[in-house]
Each structure stands twice: as C-alpha cells, then as structure tokens.
C-alpha cells in the first residue's frame, strides 16, 4: 500500500513537471516561449497598429489606447469634468455639461461607436452615450475633443445607444428605463401600459457631424438594452434588444425574468424617415440641451430645444416588428453581411440568431404570433436562422472577424467563445479573467472588420495586478484571433470601467490628427493675438484680463488695481504655433481648475480674490527650459482703493517699443 502511494506520488510529480514544460500551458511557460511579449511589444519610437477608444464607464470619459501594446494615450473628457484639461471648469467648456437639469459634472459613458461610410469605419467622429442623464456626445477625431452633446428628452437610462447607421445618417439613443410620457406625478404601480420607451433617431449632418433629433419613436414600456444597425441588405433597419417585457417596476432581477422570451425590435427607420419627411409625426413640447463646441471660437454654447417630433408605432404600419428572443437578451449584433442578427439572451441556454431575409419573408407572409400594444410579433421559428447550442453561461455581446466567425462574451462562465456563422458550431473557447462584459474587434460591427485582435473588457479584476486596497484597477485583455484558436497576449489596466469600445486602424486616424490651432483663425471673443494687444479692462466690479503666453512668460505679468470683491476674468491666449507646446495657468485661491491651453487657443478662468495682497500666478505645464520662470503677480487692494489699473511686462507697458 505504501509503495503504491509512493509510486502515485512520483507519477504526480512527474506529470506536474512535464505539464509545466508542455505546449498547452502558455501561462506557465511565460511570454518568452509563446512570443506573446514580442507580439504586443511596440519598440520605442514605433507606433501601435490600432487605436482603441474604450469607454470609461462610470468615469464618464473616453480613453484612447494603442493596440497591441495596451498603452494609454489620452483620456478624452466627455461627460465628466476634468480639472487636468480644464474641461467643465473653463468658461468656454462649462456649457458642454449643461442639461435640462442644470450643470451636471459627471456622467456614465457607455458605448462608443465610430462613424461609418458605406458600412465601413471612416474615422471622422466617435459617438458615445451617457446613461444616467440621457445624452449623446460627438468627439472629433482630428482634435480628440468633445465637440457636441445633445440631451435626449423623454428618455432615462440611455443605454441602447449610441450606434450609427452605415452612412452615419443617424446615431440612435434607446431608453433602458421606460418612464411616464409625458413625465408626470403618478403612482409607480401604474407603470404597465402607461410608461413608454423612447427610441430616438438623431440625424447627423454629413458635413460637420452636427446632431439634431429627427424623431422619437414611442415604444411600449419595456427596457431597451442594446442595438445595432442593419447593413448591406438590411441597411434601413435598426434592431434593439428588449427585456422586462413583463413591464415590472420592482425587483426586476426576479420580475423581469418571468417571460420565456423577450423581443428584438426591428425598426424600419427608412420608412419612418419617409413618413416624417412627408410631414408625419406629432410635434410635442420638450426641454433639452444642445451643446456645441466651436473650434474657431474655442467656445461652447448651450441652447435649450423646446420641441421634439413624436412617432407612435401605429402611425407607420409596417415599420415596427418584434422578433421573440429568449430570456432578457443583452447584445444585439448584426454580422458584416447584414443577414444575421444575434441576440444574446443573458439567461438563455443558447445563443439565438435571426435571419434578416427570413424576417422579411415572415413579414410578407404575415407569420405573426399576436401583437404587443399593436406591434406585430413575428413567429419565433419564422425568423430563426439558427442557434448556438450550449455555448456558455450568460452571453452578452458578439462581434465578427469578417472571416465568417463570431466571438461572443459569456459573463457567468467568464469566457470568450468563437463560433461559426451558418453552421453555429463552437470552434474555440478561452477563459477570461474575470467576468467579461463586452468585447471589441476593430470594425467588428461594420461591413469590414479588421479581424486581427480582440479586446475583452472585464468587470472583475481580483488577482490580476498588484493590489491597491479594496478598489483595484479595471482590466482589459487582448487576444490574437488570426489563428484557428484564440491566443491571450496581454492584460492591461483601464480607467473607470472599460464598458465598451471601438477600434480603428491607426493608418486611418494618424494623418488627420491636428497639431495646433491656427492663431489667425482664432475667433474667440476675448482673443489677444499679440503681446502688444494685451490689456486689462475694468467694467464695474468685473475685470477682464486679456493675457498672452509664450515661452516663457505671460504678458502682462504684473497687474495692479484689482480689488477685493472683483470678478477677474483671465482670458489667456497661447501665442505658440508649435506642435506640443501647451501652456497652463493657475492663480492662487481660484475656485476652479487650472487652464490647459493649446497653441493658438484662448481659454478663460474666473478669479474672485477674497484677500488683500500680492498673489502669484504661474504656468502649470512644464513648457520650456524657463518654465519655472513663467510666473507673474497680481496686486489686490481693498475694496474702494484708489490704486489704478496697470499692467506691465519687465517694468514697461506691454506694447512699449
């Protein structure tokens, strides 16, 4: 008995040692032998192959990473203030965060989507939705600045957003939480039949990306979770997953999981657009903010819009259908051909794939299974293309590699599963660490995916990094998907929650990236285009300082005649016309952030001095060899003092010859 035990022990040890040498276990073998390190290594001075725009989730921002390195390049402030970049703090950017609820310093950013032309990424803009106070933002991919934010009225929990149609005709915003329409004081228990779910179609100006709400489709009071546009043959349609077709309003984890099937809503937006263009729809009062940042005035303006066009599904027969889809589907993903619509039933045992052509046929043949609030429900079997059987637990989101394969994330079984379109067979599965939400293949939801890498965005991190107290970094994982089997190459930390992402080849964006703002094109109301033009102007208790900055001084840098109780506006123009030479500005006691000012740009801070004295200001961005010398003083006298306004540089007037 003892001998047998010993033999077993030997065998065990042998197996262990052999196992660690074996081919199958690349984690234990390390990056060197699998050459994963080589494949994600971008040598100093070299560039990444792809840009990845990863939503910051509850940080409210959008982060820009390189793939395959996973290096973070920039955090673009979108829905949350960012003192580092003076976003939401400078007078010019405050209007960007205005809403019908007033100024909101934080948002919950979710699903970035890059603009498309003919169903392919064109890299003009990236759109992203705010979930909490419903908004859609547009980020310009030449400046990487948020240039427009539009609030979505009659919506709440703006989640099935912000996906674009294949020529960026529209960006959609679907409500996750249905709400009373119009909003009113009513008992919550009267939800059923009285709450509505608005699906908003925002027209995008092809020239400048300007957004305007074309119409709102008032759907039944379900939860609209995710969406994707038709493409190719299905261009003109949009698909939205729904859950809570039970119309529960409490303990949804139980009450919204009762129905065997929820729906994917198929919306023929072209048909509705035609109806609207012919004068259809009802103009209804509304109140929502439309905020636009102008690159030439370097200033945002906020306008309150007072009307929105409402469409009821019954107004446009043949425009809205429901396709039954098992168990609270989350992801709603359309393959590159536009034929397959994948519904990921969060609680379903299989992955449901609908066929667009079968859907059209079923509509044609009126294969209906009743209706929901007048909207025809198509027979489940009539639209079904197939199902991936026993794929994993908790499917969430699917993207495509353009080679006939689909990749789906599974939250509960914590894995990415590769399967084949058409045969629905599972080809590969890889564990993910841990509990993956969304995934991203650059262009993976377009007609032309770049099927080289896959990024899995995880909800749980646990033991993947050095711990930093109860809160640990969020995490993404990079896979190489060029082979038959997926290979995990890299873990990389992300800001906020990496909720969703969009990727694009660097070759499309790199040449367009702006280097400087042209000073001669600066149309800011308070621009100062030369040192000689700098001045300080008192207007009652408001003092406007027209200041310039260049390596390595401010003009003026000595200011007197300010009084306690004044409201001092520092309007500062960076005179540099040289790439990567921003200057910063901060003054002691300012109740706001620094200013970070790009070459050729003007920004404004308000300073309300409360104490008599001589107070310094300085450049906050290490700009030059004499950065530490880039400073000035402002003298604050008591209220009513007779010290006159004066401003100098090196003891002389700024325009002294």
């Amino acid at each position: 008995m003892k001998t047998i035990f010993k033999s077993l022990l030997v065998i065990t040890v042998l197996t262990m040692v052999l196992g660690s040498c074996g081919k199958g276990d690349s984690k234990k073998k390390g990056a060197l032998s699998s050459n994963a390190a080589e494949r994600v290594y971008v040598a100093p001075g070299e560039y990444d192959e792809f840009y990845a725009f990863v939503s910051g989730g509850f940080s409210g921002q959008l982060a820009v990473y390189g793939l395959p390195s996973g290096r973070l390049f920039r955090v673009i402030p979108v829905f949350s203030v960012d003192p580092e970049k003076s976003y939401g703090f400078s007078e010019e950017t405050k209007p960007m965060l205005n809403t019908s609820h007033g100024f909101i310093p934080w948002g919950d950013s979710h699903h970035p989507d890059i603009s498309q032309t003919n169903g392919e990424l064109d890299g003009r803009w990236v759109f992203i939705n705010e979930n909490n106070t419903p908004r859609i933002a547009k980020i310009d991919l030449t400046t990487y600045e948020t240039t427009e934010i539009i609030e979505i009225p009659n919506s709440a929990g703006n989640h099935s957003s912000s996906f674009v149609t294949e020529n960026t005709e529209y960006v959609v915003a679907g409500t996750r939480f249905s709400v009373p329409y119009p909003q009113k004081d009513m008992p919550i228990k009267e939800y059923k039949g009285n709450f509505k779910g608005a699906l908003t179609f925002i027209a995008v100006d092809p020239k400048d990306g300007g957004m305007s709400i074309k119409f709102q489709l008032m759907m039944p009071g379900f939860n609209y979770d995710l969406s994707h546009p038709g493409r190719g043959a299905s261009h003109g349609w949009f698909f939205f997953t729904t859950y809570n077709t039970e119309e529960a309003h409490s303990l949804l984890e139980v009450n919204a999981s009762q129905n065997d099937k929820d729906f994917i809503a198929a919306i023929n937006w072209k048909k509705i657009e035609e109806y609207v263009n012919n004068g259809g729809g009802t103009k209804a009062p509304a109140n929502y903010a439309h905020n636009v940042y102008d690159e030439h005035t370097h200033t945002a303006t906020s306008t309150m819009k007072k009307e929105v066009l409402i469409i009821n599904p019954s107004d446009v027969p043949g425009a809205v259908y429901f396709m039954p889809t098992p168990k609270s589907p989350h992801g709603c993903d359309v393959d590159p051909s536009g034929e397959y619509i994948v519904g990921s039933g969060k609680l379903a045992a299989e992955l449901t794939v609908h066929s667009f052509s079968k859907m059209l046929k079923a509509i044609d043949e009126k294969k209906f299974d009743g209706d929901a609030y007048g909207i025809p429900i198509l027979q489940y079997e009539a639209t079904l293309a197939g199902a991936v059987k026993q794929p994993g637990l908790g499917p969430l989101h699917t993207e495509f590699d353009g080679k006939g394969n689909a990749y789906t994330t599974f939250f509960i079984s914590s894995e990415v599963v590769k399967w084949k379109l058409g045969t629905w067979e599972v080809l590969d599965r890889k564990p993910v660490f841990y509990s993956v939400g969304h995934l991203m293949i650059p262009g993976g939801n377009s007609r032309k995916p770049y099927g080289k890498y896959l990024v899995a965005m995880n909800k749980i991190t646990k033991d993947r990094y050095l711990p930093t107290g109860p809160e640990v970094t969020q995490s993404a994982q990079l896979f190489d998907i060029t082979g038959d089997k997926m290979e995990m190459l890299l873990d990389f930390p992300t800001i906020g929650e990496p909720h969703y992402a969009a990727g694009i080849p660097a070759s499309i964006l790199m040449p367009k990236s702006k280097k400087i703002y042209k000073l001669e094109e600066n149309k800011h109301k308070y621009v100062t285009k030369s040192e000689g033009a700098a001045k300080v102007v008192r207007n009652g208790n408001e003092v406007h300082v027209y200041m310039t900055m260049i390596r390595s001084h401010f003009a003026p840098d000595n200011i007197e005649g300010i009084q306690v109780g004044d409201k001092v506006y520092f309007h500062i123009t960076n005179l540099e016309q040289d790439y990567d030479v921003p200057h910063g500005f901060a003054v002691i006691g300012a109740n706001t952030s620094e200013l970070l000012i790009m070459p050729g740009q003007t920004k404004t801070n308000i300073w309300e001095p409360k104490q008599v004295g001589v107070w310094p200001f300085y450049c906050t961005d290490f700009c030059s060899a004499l950065h530490q010398e880039m400073q000035g003083y402002i003298r604050v006298s008591p209220k009513g003092s007779n010290v006159p306004i004066s401003f100098t540089l090196d003891g002389d007037a700024v325009d002294a010859e």
Partner: protein
C-alpha cells in the same frame, strides 16, 4: 533514511526535468536580440511637421546664407538642441562670417575629433531665452548681459546703427517657432 532517499530521488528527478525543460526552450541570445531589434535612434529633429511654424533649424536650412552654419550644426550633432522647445535665441552667422576665420579653421572644426570644440563654439551663439529685438534693446538699456548656452556672457549694445551683440551687429531678425534668429556676420568665438 528511506524517507531521505526518497526525497533526494524526487529532487533529482525534478532537477532533471527542470534542466531538460530549460534546454528545450530556446533562450534568445541577449546580445543578438539587441543588435537585431535596436531601432535607429532618431531625435525630435527628425520629426516631420509641416503645420507648425518653422523652428530655428528648419529656417536655417531653408536659407542658403546659413549653409556653413547648418553643416556645422550637423557635424557637431546638435540638431536636436536647435529644434528643442527652448525658448532659444540664436545668433546665426552667415556663410561669409566663417570665411573671416583664419584659413583652415572651419575644415579643422568639421573634423570628427573636434566635435566637442565645434559644439562649444556653436553653443556660444545660442541663448536659452526669448530675446526679440525689443527685448535686446532693453537688455542694453538696463546693462544686462546675455547668458549663452556655452556658459559665457555676451555684451549687448544699442548703437546708433543698430543692436550689437558680442561686438557684432545684428543684420536681420527672424521669428521662429521656438524663439528668434538674429543674423550676424561674425562668428562669436568664445574666449577660452
């Protein structure tokens, strides 16, 4: 005793496999890998940027008057310093200025072994500061000397026919993205 034996044999077995494991893996030769992948070292002077205003080196390169100066900058290997964010004020001698030096001086300085000597002379033409003409006038007026990158100080004089620096007259001034170029027709050889 038996136990110890067993342990030893386990350890031996383990070691054996570890060794075979290691030898089975190809460890890249560090030196070899380095020479293979070492990228060509490029500084910011190699960066292509046709949007920003031209910097001091770009301006100098675009003008025939500064052929000798540019050749000297390149020979001294200080291109990156001249495109640096600065701010820089460059007193740029025209070609003729170099001709005024004793015969053979320039050829001698351009030799690789004189690289540091050449660099020292060139840095005597650069002030790490922002000095437009207006400011130089004030420097003269207030009796402030210019501190040059060589560590030496230059005298500024406001004379009837113009501004003089280090005893030579400024002929012309060009604003560049990282500062100023003041054209002179003498080389400012630093005192040893």
């Amino acid at each position: 005793m038996k136990k110890i034996n067993l342990t030893i044999s386990f350890l031996a077995l383990f070691a054996l496999f570890m060794v075979s494991c290691n030898s089975g893996e190809k460890k890249p030769d560090a030196a070899e890998a380095q020479t293979e992948t070492a990228p060509e070292v490029k500084g910011q002077s190699a960066f292509k940027d046709d949007v920003s205003s031209a910097n001091a080196l770009q301006v100098a390169k675009s003008l025939d008057d500064f052929k000798t100066l540019v050749a000297a900058i390149e020979a001294a290997g200080v291109e990156d310093a001249v495109v640096n964010v600065g701010p820089l004020t460059v007193f740029a001698p025209v070609n003729g200025a170099f001709d005024k030096l004793p015969a053979g001086t320039v050829d001698d300085l351009l030799k690789p072994e004189n690289k540091s000597k050449l660099a020292f002379i060139l840095t005597n033409h650069v002030a790490p500061a922002n000095y437009p003409i207006k400011q130089l006038k004030k420097e003269a007026e207030k009796g402030r000397k210019l501190y040059m990158a060589s560590g030496k100080y230059l005298l500024v004089e406001d004379k009837e026919d113009g501004i003089y620096v280090g005893g030579t007259k400024i002929l012309k001034t060009v604003q560049v993205s990282n500062g100023w170029i003041h054209v002179i027709d003498n080389v400012l050889v630093p005192a040893e």
